[in-house]
């Protein structure tokens, strides 16, 4: 009987606290960037989240709308980020009081540029982070700290690039949706369509994407002037920004 019981060391190794479990989705043993927000929940909140998720899953099994499950995860994601990151006293960047640049052209005469932090690039033009060719998404996630500390690399994406030729890699957010359909964040086909129907005047030659795994204030201070010059060089009258 005694021989079948684990010793104390084995017991310790098998023990996982609720905090460990919450943290495991944030680049841990269960890494899933859709659910990395669980790190920012309290243990009690995490319990409530799981309870709601299980209940919604059971309802879907009985014929309810599958979107109910997505909605539970979405609401807790919002609560986690807004609750723990939205406090002004904890926000590390100075509030910008620059007057807005006026948009002087009618939209149907304006040239629009897109800039996103989605990590998209054109097949054959891999930014090759850290000099590595064909880095996988899993490796990008495992090296997120290095991405945060590294310089941002801007990928030019000609606006007529077919969606099938666009790739994505980004260790900071769940990329599966952006892999299935780049237009969840990089809306090139829609913008081309809006040009075709005369809603907007034209598009710049390129859209731009980078791995935005760093603080927005840092990006603004470090890259803002150079990227603004790119927008000017492209002849942009306005820029659509899609932070991820």
């Amino acid at each position: 009987m005694t021989d079948s019981l684990p010793d104390n060391d084995e017991l310790d190794n098998d023990t996982e606290s609720i905090e460990d479990l919450r943290n495991s989705f944030m680049y841990g043993s269960r890494s899933d960037l859709n659910f990395k927000f669980t790190r920012d929940l309290s243990d009690a909140e995490f319990g409530d989240f799981l309870s709601e998720l299980f209940a919604a899953t059971a309802r879907v099994g009985d014929g309810a709308d599958p979107l109910d499950v997505v909605d539970v995860a979405y609401r807790w994601q919002v609560q986690a980020y807004a609750g723990h990151l939205g406090d002004p006293k904890d926000f590390p960047h100075r509030k910008d009081d620059t007057p807005l640049a006026p948009f002087t052209k009618p939209l149907n005469e304006a040239k629009i540029m897109v800039l996103t932090s989605s990590g998209h690039f054109v097949e054959g033009d891999d930014p090759e982070p850290f000099g590595e060719t064909n880095m996988t998404q899993a490796e990008a996630e495992s090296r997120i700290v290095e991405f945060v500390r590294s310089e941002a690399s801007l990928s030019a994406i000609p606006v007529d690039t077919p969606a099938a030729d666009i790739r994505v890699r980004h260790g900071g957010y769940p990329v599966q949706a952006a892999t299935i359909d780049p237009q969840v964040v990089l809306p090139l086909e829609h913008l081309r369509s809006l040009v075709g129907t005369g809603v907007i005047g034209s598009l710049t030659e390129n859209a731009y994407s980078f791995v935005g795994a760093t603080a927005q204030g840092h990006i603004k201070r470090t890259y803002g002037p150079a990227w603004a010059q790119i927008a000017k060089d492209q002849g942009a009258d306005a820029v659509l920004l899609v932070p991820i």
């Binding site: 960037l33 859709n34 927000f37 599958p66 979107l67 997505v70 909605d71 995860a73 979405y74 994601q77 919002v78 980020y81 807004a82 990151l85 939205g86 002004p88 926000f91 509030k95 910008d96 009081d97 620059t98 007057p99 807005l100 640049a101 006026p102 939209l107 957010y173 769940p174 599966q176 949706a177 952006a178 299935i180 359909d181 237009q183 969840v184 964040v185 809306p187 086909e189 829609h190 913008l191 369509s193 809006l194 809603v199 907007i200 927005q216 204030g217 803002g224 002037p225 603004a228 010059q229 927008a231 000017k232 942009a236 306005a238 820029v239 659509l240 920004l241 899609v242 932070p243 991820i244």
Partner: protein, 76 residues
């Protein structure tokens, strides 16, 4: 961009919807979408296009603008 005289508009998911106010960004549209899908679900072209058009419609604003896209996430 704004300092350089180029007007901008941003699209944020609601999880990060606090950032435009905290940073004093120019014009922002907040979508009630999960992280990683700011414009809409994969292959939901109608929603994605509606979000883009809504965002572009804010470019004419001359004061800081933070507006919510009115409809929740959906699957195509």
């Amino acid at each position: 961009m704004e300092e350089a005289g180029i007007p901008t508009v941003s699209v944020y998911v609601k999880s990060f919807g606090h950032i435009p106010e905290l940073m004093g960004l120019s014009r922002s549209l907040i979508t009630q979408h999960p992280m990683g899908r700011p414009l809409g679900a994969p292959n939901d072209g109608d929603r994605q296009r509606a979000v883009v058009e809504h965002a572009l419609s804010l470019l004419g604003r001359t004061e800081q603008t933070i507006e919510a896209f009115p409809e929740g996430y959906r699957l195509p």
